[in-house]
């Protein structure tokens, strides 16, 4: 089980779980609640290369659509294609419903992400 305290965060309400040279990215509970029932997820392809801040996919509810952004530079190594069939997973367990795994190509950028405490404050300000 993933826990908030082990993760890093972006101001696009995405979480990043760094595992050695690779990282998982997903949507936080805050964002999944704001979107409502998620009905569709669009993922990129394995080996796609993205820079920090690039849009890599889309997540949609009935009344909203949001882009998913790359938290830091990376190359996609694995996709959670289960989400395509069961997007509701994101609402049910946001920390388990990862979108993709990527190879971290610029570790220094990790320093630009928020810590759990920073992110908590960030959410309070947004709410």
């Amino acid at each position: 089980m993933r826990e908030m305290k082990d993760l890093l965060f972006t101001n696009e309400h995405e979480w990043v779980d760094v595992q050695g040279e690779e990282a998982y990215v997903g949507l936080t509970e805050f964002a999944s609640k704001a979107l409502g029932d998620i009905v569709f997820v669009e993922l990129p392809e394995v080996d796609d290369e993205f820079s920090m801040g690039d849009s890599f996919g889309v997540v949609e509810s009935v009344k909203a659509a949001a882009d998913m952004y790359m938290p830091i530079d990376g190359v996609v190594t694995e996709l959670n294609t289960e989400l395509e069939d069961e997007p509701a997973q994101i609402n049910q367990a946001p920390l388990e419903g990862w979108f993709l795994k990527f190879k971290v190509t610029n570790k220094e950028q990790l320093g630009e992400l928020m810590t759990p405490a920073d992110y908590e404050r960030f959410c309070e300000e947004e709410a």
């Binding site: 029932d37 009905v39 569709f40 949609e60 009935v62 997007p87 509701a88």
Partner: protein, 490 residues
Amino acid sequence: MNNYNKLLCDISKPGRTGYRLPPDELENIAVEDGIPAGMLRKDEPALPEVNEVDVIRHFLNLSQKNFAIDKGFYPLGSCTMKYNPKINEDMAALPGFANLHPYQPEHTAQGALELLFELEEMLVEITGMERVTLQPAAGAHGEMTGLMIMKAYHESRDDHKRTKIIVPDSAHGTNPASAQVVGFDVVEIKSNKDGDVDLESLKAALSDEVAGLMLTNPSTLGLYEQNIVEVAKLVHEAGGLLYYDGANANAILGISRPGDMGFDVVHLNLHKTMTTPHGGGGPGSGPVGVKKHLVPFLPKPMIDKKEDNTYYLNYDLPQSIGRIRAFYGNFGINVRAYTYMKTMGAEGLKKVSQMAVLNANYLMHHLKNFYRLPIDRVCKHEFVLAGLGKSELHVSTMDVAKRLLDYGFHPPTVYFPLIVPEALMIEPTETESLETLDSFIEAMAAIAKEAEENPEMLKSAPHVTPVGRLDEVKAARNPVLKCASMGGEN
């Protein structure tokens, strides 16, 4: 006993027909002789086989599941759901209009061209513009056309830096979308607490990269833009153009003209202001008017008059943005608008706006006793409430809207504009009587009371409609977009 709830594909029966053609005297000519087998269909298309009686009953029963202006009050803000006069329909259906081929020679269609020419003149007078194209098929199509004209204007001056369109945060979603498809970047600016354009925010956004500003006046809050003169001055000083979204023109006929306000481009929605029917979502007509400096860029063709007073389609427009659709606009819709404007005349059109504004203020005056009115000043043809204003009741604007269905009213526009939380946008129009307004006020008051005493009644509403609240999540997760039973050929 009756099967009228079914789909046509489910009542289809092999061998049944609903048509009859004259006898085919040319059966000796075989399709297979002229067209290679590889180009021909092997199976008949998967369409139903039904009788004319089936068809009429099917659609008549379906029609009964619709709410419509002909059934009752439809105060849908921003949509101007006013009565659609019956004579408009009859005039558009006259064989002398309905059975004209778009390519028949101009001298055999002088009546049609004269009508279009004169409709343009009338719209010029109402908007205070130099010329109007009747080609756009809808409001969004008009927006696109108007923005193309603005872009073409800047390009003609070799001013290629102007890539941005400013849009207020209260704007219709279509405004930014139209700017996007025409290749502009959208800059959003804030409204101030009175619902007007925030001048400081506007000043900060203006630069030599701004192509123009899109504005609705009255605004989507139903308020006349107090700073309009200053806004126009600022945008023009920065070299930009002003675009008028005519969605709310029902408030200003004979009262205030976009041209006089300083706008360079305007689109009107004839399906709102000029009573052409909404048709369940179209067809509409979205004419675009422009000031003199933009006339050369209007789409092809324009309708012009020759010296001998005959009319013709003018394609000789070298700076035109080009064609924006086939033929010359939604002619049948333009016939309806022309009929209406001739019926009302100058006096009637002004009265339209006066009564529309009177009706809106009357409703606002009463409803603010039960609902939260965020900006309390004289409104124009519509106004926006911020729901019940009692969050402790846990009753949403959506619940109020759905409960209104049980009272036999179409709900107002909900959750728009985005800058007002729990928005209920109410536009009564001028075609509603005092008695109708009073009964709507009564229903809204009763619902406010129910929200306190029996909130469950609202949350589970509607109770008397053909179906209850439908599962939109299911529809979007597993889209079923066609009838499964008949199957396609695949």
